[in-house]
């Protein structure tokens, strides 16, 4: 499948594979998150994102997921027996980040507004206990995938 995040084009993402990986572990992962009153990827972060902003925002979010969320959730993934799904998502996110890297560096116009959106997510993350925040972020990947789906060039 081909995705167009504003000026950034990303090929080779099979979103169904990512959905399948997430659903295989959704209930296990989300059951560990009992802070029902906090949503990290809330409307203000992902709603009404302009095309040009989307590349920056996705790059920032996925890089955070790769460098922080996946990194700190690996042991839990082993503990819960969900390593296969975990690896599918981690590897695909890593590939997408590297594909976005080059093109998003050349764009400066909407970087600031995308950064403000990311900071909303990041501050909410930092306000939680570290382990709880990682678990919550990991359990919100369906929100991220749902948002990415909109940029699919069917």
């Amino acid at each position: 499948q081909e995705f167009q995040f504003g000026p950034c084009q990303v090929d080779g993402i099979v979103l169904q594979k990512l959905w399948q990986a997430f659903w295989a572990m959704k209930d296990i992962v989300q059951a560990q998150d009992n802070i029902t009153s906090v949503r990290l990827l809330r409307k203000e972060v992902l709603q009404n994102v302009s095309e040009t902003e989307s590349c920056h925002l996705l790059h920032a979010l996925l890089r955070f997921y790769v460098n922080t969320v996946f990194k700190n959730y690996h042991d839990k993934a082993v503990e819960f027996g969900i390593l296969k799904s975990f690896s599918t998502l981690a590897n695909n996110f890593f590939v997408i980040v590297s594909k976005l890297q080059a093109s998003q560096e050349k764009m400066f116009s909407t970087r600031e507004s995308a950064r403000r959106r990311f900071l909303l997510f990041y501050r909410a993350f930092k306000q939680l206990d570290r382990e709880a925040a990682v678990t919550k972020a990991f359990g919100e990947m369906d929100i991220l995938l749902r948002w990415m789906e909109k940029f699919n060039q069917l």
């Binding site: 169904q16 959905w19 399948q20 989300q30 998150d33 906090v38 809330r42």
Partner: protein, 213 residues
Amino acid sequence: HITEDTSDLLQHVKFQSSNFENILTWDGKLESAPDTVYSVQYKTYGEGEWLEKEGCQRITRKSCNLTVETSNLTELYYARVTAIDGAGRSATKMTNRFSPLQDTNIKPPDVTCIPKVRSIQMNVHPPYTVIRARNGHQLTLENIFQDLRYHFNLRINHTYQMHFERKQRKFEFFGLTPDTEFHGTVMICIPNLFKESAPYECQVKTLPDRTWT
């Protein structure tokens, strides 16, 4: 201070959802005392406050319709039930995080199978849901799921069947033998979400060919 284990009062609190009709169900104790009452609350994920579901406070039945309260397809929801038995013992249990879009099951389509002499036409009726757009317009499954497809299937005999996948709701199988019984099915498929309805089934006989009589 010993806290009594009351988990037996309440089990399997979950959403049962079909075409976005979202019903909260649960189980009580096997020999649940008739005086056990249940109260339901719900919330949008990310909100602080639990809201009481009117009409499902201190009820004795084990289900509650939360369709209206969970009708925003971009939101995620939780619900929880509190059970109190005659002896004053209580237990509270919460659902998994509920995503109407992901978690709803798809009902079989409503279809009219029209036999002709050498063909059978299958017309799927618009699959309306309980979801309404902002302008009050009732949405169909096609409005909600862009990649929705219909799988039309006709079994010719024990070994041979015809199968077609379409976005359109109407399909006609041609080249059939007159005055013959056929078994047709139609399913709704949503590939992106790996959803598939149970089949609608029709047993139908082509008309006799009277051209030479």
